[in-house]
Symmetry: C2
Subunit: 352 residues, 2 copies
């Protein structure tokens, strides 16, 4: 019997509430699909700062190192916004985790579900055409990690990309497209940036190995526009770290259902960090009304990508779809709903 060890970093705000539901779902599918599971909680973000002074304590890092994957909740809140950038809950935990585990590949699906098209802030004439995109974002390079510095009178940041870094993320995008609608839109600013010119050339070269996949290039400014005008034209978006940061949040806004959107950040050996696309939502924390679905779907992605437990992953996704179809949803999805976090979690467990 296979056995998986998961570091559970619930974090701040609604993190702990929604994580509790994801843990129940995981325990259940472990029983059902006959694999062993150890869930080890560890402090992260503001909760870790309060307890230890650090957003990512050595103890937490060590739990992660001894695990097969990280299930991450969400971090941050008004209490910690005054801290220096690299001491802040979000940046101070996510960036070192990405770098330590070489999580170079961030996958952020974004859909407009036909039954919930009205959640989208887009006009029905646009949202009724649907959207089903996967944003593939490079996550350990670019301007995030290049040389930076400052004096009293100026500051600089460096964006650097190597062919090898671009190749490995491009391959992920093309492989994902093969399992979807065979189209990759590569985002750059090749009319201005040298890194973008290299990006474009390298992606062109990688594309030759995937003759069944259509490749197009789009400038970031145009992409920011096209996503709003006709999001149905996209399948896989391939982005560098900064452009992917911007577009994946734009896609989430267009989907209109942050509470339903999971994400996966992977390295080349199956290790990954899985987290909801939304934030810690301190305004509704502790009220039992947060939507647990993005966290539960993140757990499903973990089962798929890190553990290869495709059946268990799909079972969770189907249970979620079933609850959505039955309108068992929290208030962010339907303002008139009376279901809370635990009720939605319980319904998913019951369906399973």
């Amino acid at each position: 019997k296979k056995h998986y060890k998961v570091a559970v970093l619930a974090g701040d705000g609604i993190g702990p509430e929604v994580m509790a539901e994801a843990e129940k779902v995981l325990q259940l599918v472990a029983d059902k699909f006959q694999f062993g599971l150890t869930l080890t909680p560890a402090l992260v973000g503001g909760a870790a700062i309060d307890a230890t002074g650090e957003p990512l304590p050595a103890q937490t890092l060590s739990v992660c190192q001894q695990s097969d994957a990280i299930l991450f909740g969400s971090v941050g809140g008004p209490k910690w916004t005054g801290l220096a950038p690299d001491k802040q809950p979000e940046r101070g935990s996510l960036l070192p985790l990405r770098k330590t585990f070489d999580l170079f590949c961030n996958l952020r699906p974004g859909q407009i579900y036909p039954a919930f098209a009205d959640l989208s802030p887009l006009h029905p004439r646009v949202s009724s055409l649907g959207m089903d995109v996967l944003c593939v974002r490079e996550l350990t390079g670019g301007i995030y990690f290049g040389e930076k510095g400052r004096s009293d009178t100026d500051a600089f940041d460096t964006q650097r990309y190597s062919v090898a870094e671009i190749e490995r993320i491009a391959k992920v995008a093309f492989e994902a497209a093969q399992k979807r609608s065979n189209k990759v839109t590569s985002i750059d600013k090749a009319n201005v940036l040298q890194t973008s010119i290299l990006w474009r050339e390298t992606v062109e070269r990688v594309a030759k190995d995937y003759p069944g996949v259509t490749l197009e290039h789009m400038y970031i400014d145009n992409a920011a526009m096209q996503l709003i005008r006709s999001p149905q034209q996209f399948d896989v978006l391939l982005c560098d770290n900064l452009f992917g940061d911007i577009l994946s949040d734009e896609i989430a806004a267009i989907a209109g259902s942050l509470g339903l959107l999971p994400s996966a950040s992977l390295n080349g050996s199956g290790f990954g960090l899985y987290e909801p696309a939304g934030g810690s939502a301190p305004d509704i924390a502790g009220q039992g009304i947060a939507n647990p679905i993005a966290q539960i779907l993140s757990a499903a992605l973990m089962l798929r990508y890190s553990f290869g437990e495709e059946d268990a992953a799909r079972a969770i996704e189907q249970a979620v779809q079933h609850c959505l179809a039955q309108h068992i949803v929290t208030r962010d999805i339907n303002p008139k709903s009376t279901y809370g976090t635990a009720a939605v979690g319980a319904a998913i467990v019951a369906t399973l």
Copy 2:
């Protein structure tokens, strides 16, 4: 009697058609408001490449240097996309013009006009709340102009900002806000970039001179999201060169009326380049159906910012509003309309 010299760079695609209408409007207001006007045409973009091999020939630059402002049409098209980046029509003309004339300040207004809210791709529940933003974008610094380079295996770009560069653009934003709704939202990625930390600190300092203006900071990823979820929350957006490039196009998409949006790029001495926010639209060029309003409103901005002819500028803007109210619009605004470029231009002239 005052006399103004304008370099008229119509460019490619629909540029010449819409420029012809703007010229008529300018000649008329010159008569009416009693100032002299010399309009000197010069080649730019693809048209200039075809004639001289260069997107910005020395002759054109010299016409600009001898003028008080540049009225720019639009450049680019499928014919020239294969050229090297700095030979391409858009980049090869706009970036050197910005740098030569130190046009550090780009102003891009974006509105959802109540009567045309349906043009917006946003849901009526969002678009009915309206949008009236001014994007103030730094235009001569940042990653566009920092040191860049590449080898066979990697490439880099440098984003650099000095306190002085940030101060001068921040002042423009606060002064604009004083004439609008007294709110500045400064966009950065201060959780990752050193340039953004300097940006934030400097903007905070400049804000002290404008106690009546509310300042808020927003991360670029969140801004890309908030613009879609509730664009009515914004007044003035203050952005660096790259973030402004992305958000101003996102704003244009949200407005849904590219054909109505002008822009101004200014230096510190009243010189400016004025151009429509939309592109050269080669697909509809030569058909007489392009919307001339963005070009005409760009001319109005020129009268206001470069020549101080506020009355003439306002007269043009009112004539445009009047035609919009009478539904004298091209097909991009109303698909059923039978008015073409010349008819809309003539109606604005007649109203004046």
